[in-house]
Symmetry: C2
Amino acid sequence: MQNPPTYPLKAVENALVALKFLQERGEIRVADVADHLGVARSTAHRVLAMLVFHGFAIQDARRVYRPGPALRSFHEAGMAPPDLVTAAHPHLRELNREVGETVHLMVLQGNGVRFVDGVEGPQTLHVGSRIGMLLPAHATSGGKALLAELPDEELRALYPRGVSTGAAAIGDLAALRRELDGVRRRGYAVNSEESERGVRAVGVCVRDAAGRAVAAAAVAVPGVRWPKRRLAELAAPLLVSAARITTALTA
Amino acid sequence: MQNPPTYPLKAVENALVALKFLQERGEIRVADVADHLGVARSTAHRVLAMLVFHGFAIQDARRVYRPGPALRSFHEAGMAPPDLVTAAHPHLRELNREVGETVHLMVLQGNGVRFVDGVEGPQTLHVGSRIGMLLPAHATSGGKALLAELPDEELRALYPRGVSTGAAAIGDLAALRRELDGVRRRGYAVNSEESERGVRAVGVCVRDAAGRAVAAAAVAVPGVRWPKRRLAELAAPLLVSAARITTALTA
DNA sequence: CGGGGGATTCTGCATCCTGGAATCTTAACA
DNA sequence: TGTTAAGATTCCAGGATGCAGAATCCCCCG
């Protein structure tokens, strides 16, 4: 560490030592802090109250203190993860090699999904690249995976007039909700010719360090080669790749 | 934010506001802080000196202050997640219901795995609970998943005299390495009667916010009900559950 | 080298922060 | 339901800490 300050500030020292103690422990009580700092309970309480007020700590109903959003903000804003596409691309390529089909990366944009990256399957018959395209979220597997992560209010806000009915697409919001319940239960989403005749797909979420879905990865396949009942076979490799992308975003 | 503290500490406030300012800006000077806090330069300097001494800031040769290792330590160690078992248990239970088999959570301990939680399968014939048991890591699916995450030096250090040969277990370090290569490639580990006759299992890693493997989740099944070729069917639900545990640990 | 801008050191004094005690709150047990 | 113990929060007098302003030092550029 550094040389001791020429002019130490005892109150500041208490606060910073308490903050580090909170980091180490993850959850602390007033008495713990008092012992750790060697101060009166009332002093410890005042220090913690300052940490709470400035967002460095939160206190739950049982009066336990935990790290607060000011420290999370550092995480979110400061430890900026590698660029999404850059991080994901090697894993998309690997998945493409593994399953021999077209893979995509997409992000939610309004109630659509923007395809931001992809690798086409090597076989003569394969789903073409959709990079740059914006498709309805509810009619794509990756879009469904992302919609399944939204709170209901947000989902409703995306579809103020219900869900548009394209070819074989979901007819109303209640039906979409039921579909998304299934996505959440299984852990992955399936699209069987909803966005395009003869195309099926499986999609899963890619997450950031805080566990939030920031993108989706999907495998899109020709229906003729992948009957509906075989789509589940794509789930495990896709989930592995999504986890690897998440890890890359997190590192 | 919160209500103002009943007893604000002015010096602590200066320090915490300065710390947030440092987070936002990424690099600051004494004069910046003095302006931001509305204090004399000497006051600002004293506050920054305390931040430096406690590792929350560093100062370079040009006298610019930047975020210091104490804030990084928060990221690495400290997003102190909810307790591992507490976080994982609901998801283990759900997985148990979904696949109808015994599920476990385990952590690496030396070159063994400690079973720290589990839910037994509901069928008459099921793998019994191993909670509390320490088994050789290389002979369990979860153990293999965890070993596959280790750098080679660490793996070697765990097996200074090669790998012990139990029933059908891997005979030497080179063979273990090959096995772990397969684990990494597939994204999940398989155990076919290596730790116990008639028992097969699939295991995957559970990760923390930094993407590091902190535990493994596994499904253990009777061999009679799950021939070797069907083990892959357990991978997707297991991967989904592991991802959910990771999310719970990360939130 | 000189000068300007910024950082660091110093010190008197005022006000802030402390500890201890009183009071409040919560949880567990009979 | 009531009681009790443990922990948290509030209060206030007094002493110690932290402040500002000025002096001094440091760095960089012309």
